[in-house]
Structures are given as C-alpha cells and as structure tokens.
Symmetry: D2
Subunit: 358 residues, 4 copies
C-alpha cells in the first residue's frame, strides 16, 4: 500500500491535509485508480467535520469527500469499458451490483457506507490525490464531450440525489411541486421537477443567491420562509394543497410542515438526513389522521454508471446547467478545508464550492 | 322528510335507538333508498361513541354506522343499473365521482366525511331503518349469487380497506409481509397479502381467537407482541428485515416499530387512524436517517361500486371467506348498542359482530 | 331544438357549411352551451372527410370537429364551477365520469364516440356556431390568464394526446426517445419527451417546417426518413437501441420499424390510428421473438378538466409554446373547408391551421 | 477441460447421449460446479431438437437443457454464500448482473443466450453430468427444507417465467384474467393469477389432463378452444371483456384473438416464443384501432437468485404445488431423449416430464 495526500478529519471542527492516506499500487481486477481533477465538498462532509464524525465514527482520521471527477491512471485486468487517460465521473455512493439488493432494484441500499464516497472503508473518501474504485465498469461514467469538469462534478451527488428524488416523486405533467429548502440539492430538485413536467414549482428558501438560481431553473414562485404565513400563501397561490413536496433541509419538524400543504393522495419526498438525535414528529392531523393517502418517501442518492451517464447526458443535451450552483472556486487540495469552512460558517453567499486539483 | 328508527350517539359512551332519524320520501334522481338487512359495527363507530363524537362532532345526535347491506326499496329516475328489490352492498365511504379528485385517481379522498358511511351529513350513518344513497350506480354493488349477507357486510370496510392497503403495498411474489395488529382489518390484510402472493406472512397480535383466523387465512407465523423480543424474532425468522409492513392498530409509536423491521427500500402501509391527539414519533435511525428508501403510506378505504364488486367477486370465487371474522350475531336494531359495547368493553373473544335486521 | 350553422361532411371529399345543425335552447342540468371562438381541424377530421366517414358512418351529414375553445353562453342548473361569459377549453374526447371505466382509471375509454368531439352523437362535432357539452364541471377547463386562444385550442387534442402518450411512456431522466412522425401530435410528443426529462430525442420526419419546430422544442437529432439507413443511423447516433419509441403516423408496417430500434425492456407508445383495413404486421425478430420485454401501448387521448387544466398550466408557466404548431390562420366558419383541404392536399407547409370565429 | 456425458442435438429430430461434453476441472472464481440431481425438458428444448437448432444454430452438437437442480461439487474462491454439498436450483436464464441492463432493471435481457440454460456458449445447456455456472452467488438459489426436487425443478423456467408474466400483468384484486394455452407455463400462470388476487380466471385449452390441474390451481372457468364461439362465451361469462390476457402458446394469430376479448385499458402478456418465421398479425379493430389503451407485453423469464428464492419460498409456504405439473418420471440421463420425444410426439397425457439423475 502506497501513501498519498488527502484531507482528513481529526476531530470536531478540525481537519488537515495528511500525506499518509493509503492507496494501493495496483487496483483490484475490476477496479481502477483515479487521479482527481476536481472536488466539491458537500454539507454532509462539513457535518462530519463539525461533529467529529459522530454519525460515521470510523471515518475519524481518514479522508473525507464523495464528489469528485478525475482521470484514470490504472485499470484492473477485468475492466472492459474504461482505459487509462479517460476522464470520469466517480460515484458518490458505491452500489454493490452483485448483491440481492441489486436484484431487488435497490442496489443503492447495499453498500458499505452510504454518502461518504467510501469504496474501501479502511481508507475513507475521495478528497485524496489518488483514489481506488472497486467496480470501474459499474460505478464510473465517462465525462461526455462538451461537459466541463465543473458540470461533471455536480453529477455524483447533487444531480444523482435530486433527480432520483424527483424521479420517485414522479410529478404529473402540469402538477404542482413545492421544494422546501433550496440549497444545492433543493435547487437541483427545482430543475428536476421542471424537467419532469411540473407546472407550479415553489422554491422555498431565504437567500437571494439561491432564489436567483431557482428562478433560472424554472421555479414559478420564490417563497421566503421568514414570512410567517408562507405555507398558507403557497396553498393560496396554488389554488389548493400541492400535488408533491420535496424536502431538502430543515429540522425534524419540517416534514410535518410539508405534509400540511400536501393534497390528500399526494407524495412527499424527503432528501434530508436526520442526524440530530431528535425524533421526527408528525401531527396526525396533517397526515390525514393516517388515512389520507399521503405518501412519505425517504429517498437516498442513486448511484451507478447508468444513472450518472444519464445525468451527464442531460447536461450534454443542454437540459440542465448545474454549474450555476457553483459560487466558489479554488485551486489545490490545500484549499479544501477553506471551502469546507464556508459551510461551517454558514456563508450566505454559498451554494457550492469546487476545488481544482492544479 | 320522513322519520325512521336509528341508532344515535347522545354523548360519551351513550347511545340510544331513536325513532326520529330523517329519511326522504323519495331518493334524489341518481339515488336510491335502501332497507338494511344486516349491519356491522366497527371500531371507529365505537370510538365515536366512546368520545362522544370528538373527532366528528357534527355526528352527535345523529345515526352512526357505515357497514351495511340491504335491499333497494326505491330508485331515482336517473339510476340505470339497479332496481327495487335488489340486494346490495352499500359503500362505507362515499366517493364523489364527479370531482377533480376522481379525475386524479383519488375519488375516495373527495367526500363529505370519511369513514362514517355518511352520504348526507345532516342525517348521519347507516344504522337506520331506511337509508338514502346519492349515487346508486356508482356507490352500490349487487350481492352476487352465492354470497351470504354475513360475507357481504364484510365488504364495505373490512375488505375494501384491507385489500386497498395491500394493493398499495403490492407485495412481490414470495416476499415477506408483517401485519402489526390483527383485529378484523388486520386479519383481512393477512388474507389479502396471501392473495397477493406474499411468502412469509407474520401475524402479530395477542388473542387466540384472532391467531386462529390468521392461520386459516394463510399466515405463516403467529407472533405474540407480549414477547419482549418479538420484533427481533420476526427479523430472525425471516432471515432479515421484511419486505413490507402493514400497520393495523396500536399507538403513535407503532409506526416506528414497523419501520425498525422493514428493509431499506421497503414499504410500510398504515391503516390505523390516529385520533389520540399525540404526535406520531419516528426515531430517524429506524427510517434510514431519512434516506433509506423506506416508504410510508397512510392508506384510506377505497370505495365505489367497482372495488366493492371486485371484493364480492373474490368471495364468490372462494378466494376469501370473510365470514370467519364474525364472532357475534344478533337480531334486531335494538341489539346494536349491545354489539357496540363489545368494543367498548374490549371483549377478548370479539373480532366482528353482525346484527340482522329481523 | 334550435338550429345553427356548422360544417358537415356530405360525402367523400365533400363538406359544406349547413345552417341546420341542431342545438338545444337550454343545456342539460350539468351541461353548458358554448359559442366557439376558435377552431382547429385535425388530420382525423380530414380523414373522415376523405373517406365519407367510413370509420364513423353515423357522422355523415353531421358536424365534424373536436378541437375548439369558446365562451360559455348558458349553464345548466347543476353546474358548480363555470359561469356565463367564461372562456373555456372544450374536451376533444368526452369521458363519462359516472362509469365503471372511470372507477378503473380509464374514463377516457368510456364515451360514446372517441375522437370526434361528439358529446351528443345525434348532433356531431364542434365545428358549429353553438355547442352543448353534457358535463361542464368535468369536461371543460378555464383558459388561464395569459394563455391565448391559439395556445388554448392546441390543448384538447394536440397536447392532451401527446402528453398522455409521453406520460405513459414515462421516459427516465436522460433516456433516449425516438418520435417517428412529426406532424403536430409528434411535435408535441417531442416537447413532452423533453419536458419529461429525456436526453436524446430523435425527431423523424421529412418536412423542413416540422424540423424547425422540433428543434425549437428540444429535439437533439433531426432525422429524415428518406435516408435509406435512417433507422440504423439512429441506433448508431444513440450508441445502441433507444429506450423509448413514440409512433405518430405511418402505415401498418411502422410499428415493426419502431420495435426494431427499441432496446429490450423498452416501451413503444403508439398514437397513430389504423383505419386502413390492413392488419398490423410485426416480424417476431424485432419483438425479441415475443419474450424481449418490449412493451407496446396503444394510447388514446386523455380527456377531462384536470388534464386539460394541467396542459393549460404548462402553457401558462412557459413550459410549452404550442402556438408554434400553427402555420395557417383563417377567419370565419366558411374558411373551415379550406383549412381542411390543406390536409387533403398534403400541403407541405402545413402543421396546424386555426380558424377564428369572427 | 474435462469431458462428461450430456444430451446433445445432432440434427433435425435427432439427439444422442455424448460422453464428450466439455467441463472445466475448476470453476471460475465466482463460479461453481454442479452435479445434476434432476432435469426437466421443456417445449423449447424439443423445438430446438425438432428444428436442428434452427433458431440457435451454435447449439448444434452441444448439450441442450435449462431446467435442472443439483448439488454443488466445487465453488470458486470468490463465492460467498454457497458451499460444496448444498442442493441448489440453477437459473434457466443467466443474467449478467454487472451490466448496464442490470442497472436498468433488465438484467434478464443481458445474457449470452436466452432460454437455453447456457452460461458458457461454447459448452451448451445443463443436460450434462457436470455443469459450470459463472456467478454462483447471483444465479443459484438454495432448495429450502421441505421442498422436493420435483418441486424445485419447476422453479427455473415454469415458475420463474409464469410468475414474472403475471407480475407484469399485475391483475387487480378481483379482476378477470384469461390464460390462453394451458401447457405447463400456462398452468403456472393460472396459479400465479389466482395468487395475485384475480377473480375470474379462464383456463383455455383442450386436454383433460391440463383442465384438471387448472381447476386445482383455482381456475374458475375451463374453456375448450374447440368450441367455435369460445371467445364470445368468455366475454359472456365474464360479463364483458376481460381485464387481462395471458398468452402461453398458439400461432401468430393468437395474439389478435387475445386482444379481441381484452377490455380497453387492459393488458395482454405474451409468454409465447415466435420462431415460425411468419409475421404476427393484428387486425387494428381488435386493438382499438391503435388508441384503445390496450397494452401488449412480450415477457421473458426472470432469472437470478432472488426471484428463484422467492418462487421456492412460495412452494415452501404451501402457496403453489408445482409438482402437479409432472406427468412423467424417468431415471437416468439416457431417458432424456425419450422424455423429449413426448413433446415431439405431442403426447396428449403430457404436461411435464422429469428425469432423476440416478
């Protein structure tokens, strides 16, 4: 096992660039080694840092990161479809395709460690100089011609998560959707809802930088949740409860708020992670007392080559411009902690930062 | 408006047979008048009585009841498919088919008053001597030849609810289902799960009378929830978390229990009503922290002629023997309060009572 | 019964403006009378004319037409949501919502006469001066503010059909779709596929006027079927067989062509009508010999207020610009035959004509 | 490469037991070697023999067969879940789980050679003394305790195909299903339809031996297709066109017959293979002229461990008794040609033969 540089979490709110991140000399037979070209930190990386990896304790002292694109430097002997020198999008979750979960259509739920970009748990995530992936043919996707690195690095989590959520919501043509929380995943969900044929799309947030992108992505209503009656206003503007709700952020009470404006027979898709330790609380009256045919889905990121390739295709066809999410650009791994701090400091101008590996 | 006899709730835990229940002389153009032949009280009727109609206050002083079969005594001039003298199953919920909800596939969620068998809110439910239904062609179903009154009266709520829930769960062939709570709806859900091709079907309850029916309906495992580790035992016996959970009873904490034994990617169908005023609480860890692809559906009874006719067809074809639910039989409307008291007194031998109108 | 002017078919290739089309003085209780503001003839109207109503013989001597918007002049006593003076979109098919088909989710397939805009078969279609609709609350939709008449008249058939077809195809985000035949419904299908998140969208036709709109609607590839190897070219450009095929025109052999470029596991949606009397022929080899999991759907127009309102919402939100289809504009009912002749003469500049009633 | 005995096709209507079928000494890393305990020939094996492998020419001179259960004799070094001595069901189709088709939910459509039980095309099928499977963890399933070999060998094709077809038909509770053709797959489809909650189930065939099993499996109507008006009779007995049709046999004209009795909005599932070289012909009038919302699915066998395990679970739970299909029992590989001849001679007493390897 060789060693390379990587960004590791060393405790609550502390991280550093280590030069002792393990990486093998050769990839496994179906695997590949990848040299990152661009990284993007995620709220969940920042959350791991803020809590000292409380929710994934084994990551302490290991590399973080799960949004990365790079160039292949070595391929295993059984890899069929990729070769050295190819630019690729790297999966943020690592489905195991030879699993019963995969046979059940839930490959994404069989993996060693969701949301950490961790294919080898003993090594950690992808904010490293060289990264091994186990199943290259299944969990990498080529970056299509005409798609930039900045666009491509929005694929593994931002697009793969938001489009999966909207895919499971499956809004009918012309139906109404509320996106509660318009951080980067929420904004992508706005775009995905528009691209799935929604009519009214309410983008609920508070920061101008996000509202602007929401508008460019096709939101019909920009809603500030600081207005006390914003929920009632949505129902009023929509002419009744909405057909679908997408939850991308907020506390354990947010889910009940979402249900309160959802029509009977409607669906709420949750894409928030609840690590706070408090229970989710739902007042039965907003859920039709249990028999209002309101469906609640807790959706995880969908991984794998096909899904990433389809996301990249949407970019290549001009349907999505994910680079609009990027508000901060850095160069060099050493800047990753600075980029992560934007989240920890709740920078009001932040949507997504990227760091070029140059 | 004429008057007839009916069972009315007069306050907390009090009901009486009144002779002043309103009924029109003639039905509306698309409606019909029905003389009941058999009634069956439901937990929810008992609940209304116990609380003095706290959840549906307008029902105080009016007739209760929503499970009834009878014979048509008059039909409106626009009724096409039914005629006087025909024996019919009467819908327990009253979908309005000329509604936008109906156009959206959710007719059942457009109605004046769910679960009370109330087609004319000013009059109340169907524990009366003569009952008017507004849309006979759409909300009545003929009782097929060979189907008994006892079987037929299990259709409007017991079968229409349980089979709708399982229909929305849509268990795959050979998959595993847990039914938490095996009162009459839970038992019907056991049968429905078997009839939808489930493999392992766990029936979770505590009373022998219910276990016996569960076994006859095809449950593979009878589970007593008084065993402290019954949830772990289910997972062990199943060889892992289950594919689907159906919730038919229990407190606001039951939903979390159901999620705790559900596989990632699985579905929980709730058929309990939550009127206790307490919030439903879910520990995020049992819900995959919000991104485990566990779906929660809060399913209401499906009404309408087609669904009732399909339920009746299942009986006629010998697929379901709903009369096995009936543990108590009475004769005469005067016995309805006595039957209702079985619920209020938590009679351990009770599954469902019926009262013949003779 | 009063009489009014209307365009009637009198034989093969002959039509005339008659002044003896029947219209009642008062609408039925749930109905409404509508004075047309704009009409649009359809290929199927032209086909009726060309064949002397061979496929719907009872229409001979009666009014044709099923794409119309107008203003309400009278409403029946039971109409709840519409009033005199309101501008409305009129359903092109007339679902009967109080039917068992409606309870089965197939309201559109219960109607007296599909595709003829005929609510009262004894009177004919909507190219008349005054038109009665039976169920105003269910089969009319308001024209939203900001939506023009030209846009609105593209809703009843062009949008309601094409968006229904794509809705049933349900292309996955980033997946590939081929639209075979880009007349007006095909072009709308192009737009609908883009709006349902498709990546590659191949528009297959031959006329420049259509290719231009296809491009504006988001088609990624414009394919001329006069190129001998156009089917192979599609597969090559797509990097393999496509995920979905939409068929909007062509002979009885076209379906086989569509299947030949469809991936195993893919879906073909047919929106063509086959009235030629010849059988549809499919070579088993293009259908995976019967076990290739290729699904064939023969989709009809979806009607009803909700669907039309959702289409109109898409226009109001700026998602669809259906007026791009309109290549010919006329004024006065007398011009309808001239507009119909554009179809009969196979005018190469034609997509859709409209006729204002002024 | 070692050699072992196997049944090979040597030309039209000729087969022989060869002792030169290739088998490796060691399985591949994820593979296993299996010694058959029981085989069952299938119509498609017989068809290969009758035509001299016309549809799969490379099989000429190689082993046939794809329905087999056996005992594991060796496992590759990467096999996790199986060990030597275990009794297993062997997949009849060989999905490749590390494929883009698998990521698209269509693993079954990525394989070297459908329906031939051929995991290594250069070697042929499983009517051999020793058989190698490539991906043991994914394409084998244990035989559960209490399940006999005769039951188990009905899983790989008979159950895996029929239950997949019915799963895709997804009949609603109480709906009506017609099974056209009640050979062994059709009979399994009868049982699967009953187990998916169908009401009326029409079993259409001609042989008494099949009708008897159909009845035991829950068919409500036994229909002899020699009656000239059997299709009309089905519609009459059902009270209208049926909700679903399953096609398991017949000529290229059978599909049109199935459509002719299918309701608008219904689904026909085809499980026949069309190798005759003639086109499938559909009169448009039975398909609603292309817009009657009649869906046609051409469904292939679903493979893989999970599906087979679920089928086996249904047997273990007592939901299905597939051994009822077995009409002929033999012992010793040498009897396989005799068993195959039952098909070639159209033995009227035949449903399925099995051959024990003892």
């Amino acid at each position: 096992m060789n060693q390379c540089k990587g960004v590791i979490i060393t405790g609550k709110n502390t991280m550093t660039v280590s030069s002792q991140c393990p990486v093998p000399e050769e990839p496994c037979p179906t695997g590949a080694l990848i040299r990152p070209l661009i990284w993007s930190p995620c709220t969940s990386d920042a959350h791991l840092c803020a809590t000292g990896c409380a929710s994934l304790p084994y990551l302490l002292g290991k590399a973080v990161g799960h949004e990365m694109c790079g160039v292949i430097t070595k391929v295993g002997c059984e890899v069929r479809d990729f070769k050295v020198g190819q630019r690729v999008i790297v999966c943020s979750v690592m489905p195991v395709w030879r699993s019963l979960e995969a046979q059940d259509g839930m490959a994404k739920q069989h993996q060693d460690n969701m949301y950490a970009g961790v294919d080898f748990p003993d090594r950690g995530g992808s904010f490293v100089e060289e990264y091994e992936i186990r199943d290259a043919d299944m969990n990498l996707a080529p970056i299509p011609e005409g798609v930039t690195l900045e666009q491509a690095v929005m694929v593994p989590d931002m697009m793969c998560t938001a489009f999966e959520g909207v895919s499971q919501l499956a809004p009918a043509f012309g139906s109404s959707v509320v996106v509660l929380g318009i951080g980067p995943v929420g904004l992508m969900a706005v775009r995905a809802a528009v691209l799935h044929g929604a009519g009214n799309v309410f983008a609920v947030g508070s920061r101008q930088v996000c509202f602007e992108v929401a508008k460019e992505y096709g939101a019909t209503h920009l809603v500030d949740y600081h207005n006390e009656d914003y929920l009632q206003q949505i129902v009023k503007d929509n002419g009744g409860p909405v057909d679908g709700v997408i939850l991308c952020g907020g506390s354990e009470k947010e889910l009940g708020k979402g249900l309160s404006i959802l029509k009977k027979g409607g669906t709420l898709v949750n894409m928030s992670a609840y690590f706070g330790g408090s229970p989710i609380e739902i007042d039965p009256s907003v859920w039709g007392f249990g028999y209002g045919d309101k469906t609640i889905k807790g959706v995880g990121c969908r991984g794998g080559r096909l899904w990433m390739a389809r996301m990249a295709k949407l970019i290549a066809c001009g349907r999505v411009a994910p680079e609009k999410l990027i508000t901060h650009r850095y160069h060099g791994m050493e800047k990753i902690p600075q980029a992560m701090n934007l989240f920890l400091n709740r920078d009001r101008g932040l949507i997504k930062p990227v760091i070029y590996n140059d």
